[in-house]
Symmetry: C2
DNA sequence: GAATGTATTGCGAACGGTTTGCAAGAGGCC
DNA sequence: GGCCTCTTGCAAACCGTTCGCAATACATTC
């Protein structure tokens, strides 16, 4: 479904800030911080204000179109993905990748069974070193 | 090893703010926000300033004595625990619990094998409902 | 296509948690 | 106890985010 339809369905208007913020997010292959989003949005349309970026992010999150991750000290945004996904964060270059792991569903079952807790969302964040950054090893 | 020894070993002094912050953290069974820590520290010794709390938290984290978690919008602190641990965060009452899960190690192996990525720390955060907060269900 | 009613925006100021600079204070070694 | 230096308390600065408000621009109706 198109952004416009999703907004309309809930009586929101499709405005330029919303369009641009959404484009930036959906065209990006990686997580973006609010600052990065604001910067790119501003590049595309200098007339769009930071506060609109924040307001739009909040709205899109409310509509489950984007997702905020708090993987590192600054939180980042990405289009929402329904599937259980693992975030791989490279400690060296900072890149964030997704990885599918069947085991996440096993994990859910195990938790439900053993923890006296009813899981809804499972977030897995893995720090480590990506293939491009080999063996940085223990740099002090 | 005692706090004092760990500090000494690295040429840091054992001071009252450090003592009290550490006590608060290690006596607590749950994660605490910086504000909660500051509040409890202040209760025990009104002369200790917030900035010392922050400085101490940074130091203790540097020494790997405490761990900062960014599970929700405000980050929380707890004594460091080496073992792979799952955080269960109740969406209703906000309580954070730990849960051991053998599967985390399987997950590590799976990632190492399939993702072209060398994992170091794995954080699993599970949102859901704890046993004490039964069936809040879909409140709009 | 213009007019209209209202959601949305841009702007600038406010906010709140965290950090910092600095002089006063307190650890710890002699 | 004295001295040297690390730490602290304090208050101001910071900075990302939020808010209030008048101006703007969507979407709808004619």
């Amino acid at each position: 479904m198109e952004l416009e339809d999703i907004l309309r369905e809930r009586d929101f208007r499709l405005t330029r800030p919303r369009r641009v913020v959404w484009d930036v997010l959906s065209e990006s292959e990686r997580h973006l911080s609010a600052a990065e989003i604001a910067e790119e949005v501003h590049r595309r349309d200098p007339g769009i204000n930071v506060s609109s970026v924040y307001r739009t992010l909040a709205l899109l999150a409310e509509l489950d179109l984007v997702r905020e991750s708090r993987l590192t000290e600054t939180s980042t945004w990405e289009p929402a993905h329904a599937d259980a996904v693992i975030h791989l964060v490279c400690e060296n270059c900072g890149a964030t990748r997704h990885h599918d792991a069947a085991l996440v569903e096993d994990l859910r079952a195990e938790i439900a069974r053993t923890a006296d807790f009813s899981p809804s969302v499972i977030d897995v964040r893995v720090s480590g070193t990506c293939a491009k950054c080999p063996a940085v090893s223990a740099a002090p």
